[in-house]
Assembly symmetry: D3
């Protein structure tokens, strides 16, 4: 049932993206709540919930793709956090991004590395506050 | 030393891509052997040889990126084989490609799935011959 | 309910893409039937079934996007047929593609125009057979 | 004659893009006035002035393409305004962008939706001032 | 006057692209002759005819861009011929393509190199016939 | 030897990109110094140091590609400076960008022209300080 997909998706989004993901959905509520609903239902309710590939590998794939695409830096920011949340190390994330210099060119990799730097610095500042 | 990077790269390329990778280098020998040399040295000698991320995860990242890029289907063909060679299952490869429908759109995922279909069918035919 | 989305999507896909769309789903049944299921459910069951934009305008948007993307020519072939099926004229399709020269460059437009030529010629051959 | 194309283009640009379009041309006058001239002559004097597709449909195509491209958010901002100016409703624009999640992926659609949000909020602030 | 732009463009297209360019325009005459007209007038009549950059440098830029784009291999084929026609050597063309591995990734460069190989082999076959 | 590639690359990077290039490498030292090392070794130590194409032509190719890619504006900023440093005139850079409207569309060209405008204005301000 629809509500099951939505519920499963919302749980999966919180598990992976945490607050950053909730912020994305929230930013849509005034302009296009249905896009937020689809974002929860299809990527998270359907795809990320599938058993055939573990969550850590899924985030590796997503960080790689968002780096290669070039135009998806806001989403890359969310998913670098997501990758760390599901068990990727910072070193592994840096390795994925370096590898994308081969497939998508150095500009895509360099711009993604700037995002990784922002994410790590923000997480360090948050850690200091605790 | 240069020869070390080349040697290490050539070994890594054979380990991952096997014959398909050797064919790519070979196709360059008349027109641009240096591009073949760089392909061996940088992606394989430098990047894939790095310890920070395991080979299976590296191929997951590459299959994801090549699917998302849209214009890299010949290379995707080589690397779907590569992913299988280093321990990804067919199911895992299919999962990566389905996931790319979220990030790069359904066209990119559908075109990548056609390539996966070709690769699996070719491997099945080869298996029958043994 | 899930079956409702699927049923609604299948009806919408037949309405827009006709046989060409059914062929796409069919080509997936051996390798990744779930990607076929998602293609029916999300694009067609969810998005194309939404009331806020008429089908003809939706196909105008899709033909434009698939032209601009550059890597989606197989899908463009399906949707040029789809656009004609829902009321776009050949002239209107040609106008969209010409307009894409402005936003995505002449290569994208020229390659899309080759696809349009193929589609129109195939439809003319089919018409002659009747 | 050249001046006719330029004159026709300038009128069409003002009709569709209004002030936003004039600002683009103006920003070019010190660095590359000829690019401004070509922008007026070819997209607007030639393409948008063609009779075979109505202006509203043209803007639907453009909003779709600029969303799908991913790197054209400044131009998308101009054309979301343009689409509203020639008779698209806000709902229709939101529908186009949601639909692009299917063809170009969720990142492209989400980033475009942020732009639509900015445009609508700016237009609301302007309306309040009157 | 319009006819001047067209005439100037047609002369420039023949000068650079020769037969390959004429074939492109010819392939459009049944489906979208206006796209052929615009292709002659804007790229060739306006841009390539500008004095600020020499023809050889223009073709270097075009070969680089068409390699980087990834989806423009048919046009790359035309312009590798064009680059040779206006004074680029085969070596220079190979250098541009190798360089694109840095900015657009190895897949884009490898696919472009396959096109260069086809072009050079075709030109060698033609030379033997004389 | 490795150190030779690095040393040659560092000299080439300073020759072309000057301070802007050094800043890029420096920004990587805390997060991914190896990406900085590869950026020096492969693009500059290997590719830009090759004899088959002169530096000015190489920068023409790079400015064209970075404009066409759409997602590489930070790198375009570095290389517009680089192109000026190795002998391109401002006029020639503007010509390349205008030409990219043909191959990558007007959005890519317009966004690149904004970057060129920033670069030229910054260089003018620096000149005034001397």
């Amino acid at each position: 049932m629809e509500e099951e997909r939505y519920k499963r998706g919302w749980e999966k989004l919180k598990q992976i993206d945490g607050e950053a993901g909730e912020k994305v959905i929230d930013s849509l509520k005034d302009i296009a709540p249905d896009l937020g609903k689809y974002t929860i239902e299809f990527p998270f309710g359907d795809v990320y919930s599938r058993p055939g590939l573990d969550l850590k590998s899924r985030e590796i794939a997503t960080v790689a793709a968002l780096t290669a695409l070039g135009h998806a830096l806001p989403q890359l920011k969310v998913h670098i956090n997501g990758a760390l949340n599901v068990g990727c190390t910072r070193e592994e994330i840096i390795e994925i991004i370096i590898q994308m210099a081969v497939y998508a060119g150095f500009p895509a990799a360099l711009n993604a590395m700037s995002i990784a730097k922002e994410v790590f610095e923000a997480r360090d500042r948050n850690r200091l506050k605790e």
